[in-house]
Each structure stands twice: as C-alpha cells, then as structure tokens.
Symmetry: C2
Subunit: 446 residues, 2 copies
C-alpha cells in the first residue's frame, strides 16, 4: 500500500469483512450496569471500567460562577501506541481498522494499540492485545520516540489520562489483516478525510518525531536556536501558563449524580439529559461485533448535543508560523488548566445572552483563501456517541498580536515540544496539532 487509493481499497475491504450492530438501549436495561439507588451514579457491577457521577466545580476567582454537571470518571490509564517502521527509508505507521460503538461510520483508523488497562490486563477475558509488547516492554529493536500521560476531554472526563506512545521498530512485524502500514505522507492525506482517523490516532500522531532521517540515526537534529524566531521565549510562555493556572484554580468535588442541578434522568427513555437540551446526554447502547475482543457488550455513552468548532488561528510572525493558543480550565482538567486551541466551543451550547468566545466569529467568517485546513473529525468512539467537531486552521494575518490574558502565541515547534511532556496541551489542541504539522510551512521539520 503506497498511496491513498491503495489505503482506501484496503479499508473498504475491512468494512465489508465485519458486521456490527449498535442499538440504543435505556440505561436501566444495560446488561452489567446499574444505577446506584442512593446517588443516581451509573456504575458497572464489577466496579471497574468507568462510572457516570456528578461534579461540583467552584472557581476560586470571586466573579466566576460555580456549576454542577455529570462527568465520566475513569481512573484507569490506557495505552494509545503507534508503531513506526521505515520501508525504503520512508516512515510508515501501523494503523488499525477498528470499530467503536460511538463512531458515525463505525469503522475508523485507530493506532496500533488502543487498549484500556482492563483490555491489556485482560479483565474482559478477551483476546490478548496485538503488538502490545512493543509498548509495554520495548526490545532491542524498538526505540521510543514519545511517551507521555495525556489528558482527554476535560469537560466530559474527570482527570482521565491515557499513555501516548510512539515506538520505532526495526523488527519484523507480522501484519494482521485488520492492520496496515500507512506511509507518513499518505497519513497527511487521510487526516483531510472526514471521520476517518480517530481521536486516539490523532493524539499520538501529534507526538511523532519532527523528521525521521533515512540513515537510521533517528530524529534529525533540531535546527539551532538562532534559526527559530519565536515571539515569546520559553520562560515567557511558562510565566504566562503559570499565571493562568493561578487565575483559574478551583475546588472540585464529586457529588451524587442525582444532585446535579439542571439535569434530569428521563426514566421512560432511560437517559440523562440537560433541561435545555444543551451539552450532552448520557445514553445506553447494546453492541454486537464480530471483530472485537468481546463479541457483544452493553455500555453507557456520552452523546454531545451538536457539532463543535476547534480551530487554530495561524499567523506568520518574524518569518515563523505561530499558533494562537489559550489556557483552558475545564471541569475535569487534571491540573487546573492546559494549553488549548484558539477556539474550542460548541456554538449550540451558548445561551443567547452569553458572550461569544474570542475569535469564534473571526474563525467562522474566514474567507476561503484563509482556510488552511477544514475537516470534520470524531472524538473517541468508545465513550462518545456520534461526537463530531469541525477542525479548522485559519490564517490570521489580520488578527492583532495583542491578545487577551488567557491567550498567547506559540510557534508550531514550541507547541509540539510542550505536547511531548504530558498534561500541558489539551486533547483538542493535540489532535488539531497533528493536522497542523502536515500543512506547508507549519511542519516542525523544514
């Protein structure tokens, strides 16, 4: 498989080879799950996997309102791993055609390994996770390029993290029929296809090495500092970020789900919803699949209301591409705030009287020649049901350098390096960064 046409042919074959059935089911009918009668929390009978609970969020800033909301609590840390190997000097990524119950298109392109802790320790009593050894116990033929604990959606998960790993191997790797070596240049094309490359893939791709040289020596040396002209140096960015963490600090308390105000459980439909229909619903699904570790199961899912907008404003400053980023504090953020994209919002969730988020209208009004990237991608189909966002990169030549205090400008390379450390860059920014790094003039390698 050397080009996108070859990929699509293989992928269509995988879609035809498997059968799946996803059936929405009331929460009270979900096999293996129960609602705690005292708290209203939704839990698995084994006590494992995840639960739906309530959260109270109280900002320390005196003028910021407190709120309560349902939230997914999943203390386990899973693994998202991409295996990389060079063929004729070209880096290829081992990707997987994988069904997730929340996917609009059912099958999407997943990383080599996408496994919860329950999966890879085989609590499900399913099959062993393929290729997991390259990530859990890298051998002499394996080289780790990227390994970080990374947050996922802070407005839906309480402090959830997954381990993101990229391993380059020189070992022979048997390729199972649901897997495929995708050349890195082809991956750049696939990222432009709606709802194809799943969230778990995108977050790992954000951490790919800048450039893989053909001589086997690994990552090319970064150009010397003199060749990069960031608007802000590292100390200035860390000062900005620490200041934002101080401003946004908060008290968070888990509370019984039934005590979350403004939300109700509809016992007839068997779901949990917001009284104005905003934000999301908690629903149940029954799943039948012939290609998963376990052939059938039931689970709750979070179904967002409508499609969000996730966008970077990109601007050339001092001859270097910069991205407008914001420090975002969400209810479930692991450590107060992380670095998010220029715009991250679901316009349908805004009350009519609400202030529009900065830069949202500028992004939505961009002229066609300003739009550098515009693709609809899905969020994680294992927890989120039909969760789509429009991912945009917009040239912001007209956007002033002077920005509100929660915003700043970072070069693509500064954001990429920050993203490799873990828990500094949020999942929306990371998955869009994976796309940004394929744009002309925005690659970390030049």
């Amino acid at each position: 498989m050397e080009d996108a046409a070859g990929f699509h042919s293989w992928f269509a074959g995988r879609s035809a080879a498997h059968r799946y059935r996803i059936t929405p089911t009331p929460l009270h009918d979900l096999d293996g799950w129960y609602t705690d009668s005292a708290t209203g929390d939704v839990r698995h009978r084994s006590g494992r996997f995840f639960s739906i609970e309530g959260l109270r969020f109280e900002p320390a800033a005196p003028d910021a309102p407190a709120w309560t909301q349902p939230i997914i609590r999943q203390p386990e840390t899973g693994i998202l791993g991409v295996l990389l190997k060079r063929f004729d000097g070209v880096p290829h990524l081992l990707m997987q055609a994988k069904m997730e119950p929340g996917n609009i298109t059912t099958l999407q392109l997943s990383p080599t390994v996408q496994a919860t802790f329950s999966n890879y320790t085989r609590v499900h009593r399913g099959a062993a996770v393929r290729y997991i050894d390259h990530f859990l116990t890298p051998g002499a033929a394996d080289r780790v390029h990227y390994d970080a604990l990374q947050s996922e959606q802070g407005s839906w998960f309480l402090g959830k993290r997954n381990r993101n790993i990229v391993v380059e191997t020189t070992a022979d790797v048997p390729v199972h029929e649901d897997f495929c070596w995708v050349p890195r240049p082809v991956m750049a094309e696939l990222l432009r296809v709606d709802n194809l490359v799943n969230m778990d893939s995108r977050t790992v791709l954000a951490g790919l090495p800048d450039e893989v040289t053909g001589d086997g020596s690994g990552e090319a040396p970064l150009p010397g500092r003199a060749s990069e002209q960031p608007l802000h140096d590292t100390a200035t960015l860390l000062h900005w970020f620490t200041g934002a963490k101080m401003r946004h600090r908060s008290e968070r308390t888990t509370i019984p789900l039934r005590r979350v105000g403004g939300w109700h459980r509809d016992d007839r439909r068997g779901e949990i919803a917001h009284e104005a229909g905003r934000y999301f619903r908690i629903i149940g699904v029954d799943v039948e699949a012939d290609s998963r570790e376990v052939p059938s199961w039931s689970q709750p899912m979070l179904a967002p209301a409508g499609r969000g907008v996730i966008a970077f404003v990109s601007k050339e400053i001092r001859g270097e591409r910069h991205l407008l980023v914001q420090a975002r504090a969400e209810a479930g953020t692991f450590d107060v705030a992380e670095i998010g994209p220029s715009v991250q919002c679901n316009p349908g969730n805004l009350a009519e009287s609400a202030r529009r988020p900065p830069y949202l209208d500028a992004v939505l009004a961009a002229r066609p020649e300003q739009v550098l990237f515009d693709t609809v991608h899905s969020e994680e189909g294992g927890r989120f049901y039909h969760a789509e966002n429009r991912y945009l990169v917009v040239d912001g030549t007209d956007i002033p350098l002077d920005v509100p205090e929660d915003y700043t400008w970072m070069t693509v390379r500064q954001l990429t390096r920050a993203g490799r450390i873990g828990n500094l860059v949020d999942v929306e920014a990371r998955t869009l960064l994976a796309c940004v790094r394929t744009l002309p003039g925005h690659g970390a390698s030049r």
Copy 2:
C-alpha cells in the same frame, strides 16, 4: 556588600536587631487552633492556613504495602520570588533575613518574597508584602526568567505547591533594612554554610537562568545541541519517567487523623507521635517576634525525627557531568512521582530489617576526595521544626552506568531544564540542584 564578609556583618546586625521567642506548646493550648472531636484533625478556627489530617496510601502494584500517616494539607499556593538585578554587570539577588519559628538558628536567608496566599492577600491583617508587585504584576522594567508551580515535601504535605519566580529588574529598588543585594558569586559561598540559605531560597535558586550576560540581552544562548553529550536523550528520559509513573500509581484517600494506624495523640504532652518514635511528631509552638507581619501567633509544626541524607551521585559521562536521579513516589506527591536525588532518606526511619535504599551506603562511605559538596541545610521553618538534612554531592566514578529501573542519569542541564517546567523535579532534588550548579564543571553555563 561585595563579599561574604560584608554579608555576614550585615546578617549579624539583623540577628542582633530583632527579638524572637519560640515556645513549644501542647496542641490543645494553641490559640486559634482546635482538634475536631469527630476526626481528630487539627484545624484553624478560620478554616484557613493548613490542617493536619490522615492519609491512606494504597499502591496499585500488588506487592507494595499500603500505609496510613498524618499529613499536612495546605491547599493554598504561596509565592517564593527572587528579584535579580545587575550592578556593574554582576547579577545580584535581593535576599531577606527572615525569622521562621522552626529554624534552628531562627534567622535564615529567605527569598525576596516568601508569602503564603493568606499573607499576600492579607488574611492575617498584617503589613503588605514588600516587593510583591514585581512578581504579581511585573512591569516594563521587569523580566520573568522562571515561573513554575513547584511541589514541596511529598512525605509531609498533601499535594502542596508554591509558585517559584525569578524576576530580573532594571528598576530602582528601595532596599529595606532586612533585605540585602547578594552578588551571585557570594551566594555560591553562602550555600556552603550550614543552616543559612533557607529552603525557599534554594528552590528558587535552582531555576536561575544559566548565565546572565553583561550586555543587557538576558540569558546567553544555550550552546548548540552538539556540544552537550547526554547519555539519554529527552525522549528516552520521558519514557523512563512515564514508565515510573505507571508503576507507582496509587489510590490516595484522606482519612480522619484518629484512624491513622501506628500513631497516637499524647494528650499529656499535647502532641501526635509515631508509636516507635520514627518519622515525625506534630507539635505546637507559640511565637513572639518583633519583625513579622503579625507580632505573635501560635501554630502546629511537624518535627522530624533525626537528620536525613539527600545526595546526588555525580559522574562524568561522555565528558559531561551527569547526576544519578530516581523517580520517587511519596504519599503526598502531586502527580504520582517526581524526579528526586540519588539518595533521599532518613536512616533513622529505617526499620532494622528494612532493605537499605540503593546508593545510601555508597554515599555515606565516600572518600573525602569524592565529596564535592557537604552542607547541612534546613527545610522550611514555617511548617517544620528543626528539620535538617545533610546535603551531599559525591563523585561516583565507581558507580556503574547500569542502574535499577527507578533510576537514571541526567546531565545537570537536563535536570535544570526539567526543573523549570514545574512538578517534575521534587523539592529535595531542586534545592540540592541549586548547590550543584555552583560546583566546578557542574554549572549549566561553562
């Protein structure tokens, strides 16, 4: 004040100018504090400042034992700030002679600003904190070199953090009589004096810029990558650290202090102690001072049992000084594990049957010519009573490169850079790093 003699003359003058009285007092007699009758927790009547509670720590690893212990809970984030200014091209640090009730010598050298959130928002109704504006609202003459949320003692505090800041100013700065501009080369000498430079100063000094050039352009450019020859690259170190976080993950739960096993409250002495006399006691003190924001107060303190050993093994590898570091998970560590020194232990706390920590005996048995640094420093005198540790740097030419899985080698510069990010390097490693960076061949600048 241009040399160490001038400093000591000024410091002796400050010691003579103030009067203090610290009186150990039973916890039940402490003004403003009470013991919760249901839980046994020790709290301030205002609900602020800090509390002494119980903690249950359950490692996820199946062979690791769980335990309970008393712990200090202080959710507020204070500020530790050092103001830097060049005189005739020489960087000087504005330091403060400050009394803390737990100090053995009462007066130690503090940062320009050492203030709890209650201090600088004036909950104490004390005087305004001097120089705080340079750190809270840096002006045009101020440049921030370092700004990070940093952890403090993970075995004594539950997730406590302070904001560490270094600001360089070109503004005129009026110098109050308790403050003094210390030339950076003199500070290197003062760090070799027992119990003089306090913990809060040392942790901030660890983040000083590598080299301050004389031409006003700020930090000198880092030498190109080719000039540094680390044993492990950044990706390998992050892989090691993430692996350690996975191995050491745990469940932590605050519990009533009276349910902490193996500890008891001695009602006659009015203190809380471990049944074998190990670890620490919680005691009370009454304080009278003529130089603090508030002239008298009472508070609980943690009094450690005996003196600990904190050491780096230093080894030249590939022509570059490396430090042996370990990933340490302590009860109160903010995020599972941080990077600690080669040895961090209180030998008196080891049960006779306990395994000796790796490298402890090698450090204690070092020949005189191997000992590069050996000074007794105090831990924070605002919470800890007479808490001393012996800080050592030992040349480890004989120590093998191959180390246990929780250990690795980092160059001084790699550790310095990691320390600037926040919550990656523990307070013991940071305060010793401030000393390491003054050693020949160990400076981040060469």
